[in-house]
């Protein structure tokens, strides 16, 4: 597979958009974060790892749910450049 330098740069720029909501957003002090992805990076990046990398508050427990591109996902799903990742505190709708 041939990947141009421009494509590589686009992917790198794409990175991962991380979003927080409600109480979690307020605890962390931010709502949206761009996490650059290193195209030559060794290990796969997962939501669980990003939680630690971003030093999000408290332990990453069962109460926090993960959504990738607007769909619920497992916390160990490998992330792709361009993904929108969201950490969702306990839902209380309806």
């Amino acid at each position: 597979m041939v990947v141009s330098v421009e494509a590589m740069q686009q992917i790198a720029q794409a990175g991962i958009k991380v979003r927080l909501f409600a109480g979690l957003r307020e605890q962390a002090g931010w709502a949206e974060h761009h996490w650059p992805v290193d195209p030559g990076g060794e290990a796969e990046l997962t939501p669980r790892q990003l939680w630690w990398n971003l030093q999000l508050p408290g332990a990453f427990d069962q109460r926090i749910r993960v959504a990738i591109n607007h769909q619920f996902a497992d916390a160990d799903t490998p992330l792709q450049p361009g993904d929108e990742l969201a950490f969702l505190p306990p839902i209380s709708g309806g």
């Binding site: 109480g23 109460r63 959504a67 839902i91 209380s92 309806g94």
Partner: protein, 150 residues
């Protein structure tokens, strides 16, 4: 199967929207559903700690919330084989007494209509990204970390 889902950022009157929904799927004498089940949830005047509630703030995840509601409703309606479904949910600042959610199901029989209405309400309460923050009369606020018991 007719599905209508909407988020409202201002107060809505459940019965007005139920009427409009009924009229939509009974055009030109087309017969109305033999069975219709509705649920309306409203904001209580009391906060979780028992104090007076000034308002409830409803945050959602634009894009994902609508998509989840659609998926949950579609799956539930197919599972119960119902013919029409209306889901309305408030976002933003909601005052005590105002409607926060409306679920209405039209079907050919009462069992599927009622079960679908009930299941869809539980599904959206647990799996549609909404977050409630209680604003108390003293100006303080708390994010809720779950739903009221069933």
């Amino acid at each position: 199967m007719q599905l209508r889902i909407a988020l409202h950022s201002t107060a809505f009157e459940p019965l007005d929207l139920l009427r409009r929904w009924q009229e939509e799927h009974t055009p030109q004498g087309h017969s109305a559903s033999a069975a219709e089940a509705h649920f309306i949830g409203r904001v209580r005047g009391v906060a979780a700690d028992g104090g007076d509630l000034e308002a409830l703030e409803l945050e959602h995840y634009p894009g994902m919330t609508e998509q989840q509601l659609e998926q949950l409703a579609q799956a539930c309606c197919i599972r119960h084989n119902v013919t029409s479904c209306l889901v309305l949910h408030r976002i933003g600042r909601v005052l005590p007494g105002e409607a926060i959610v409306l679920v209405a199901i039209g079907a050919d029989r009462r069992g599927p209509a009622q079960r679908c209405c009930q299941e869809l309400l539980e599904a959206l309460k647990h799996d549609a990204p909404f977050w409630k923050r209680e604003w108390r009369t003293d100006g303080s606020s708390t994010w809720l970390s779950g739903n009221t018991p069933l």
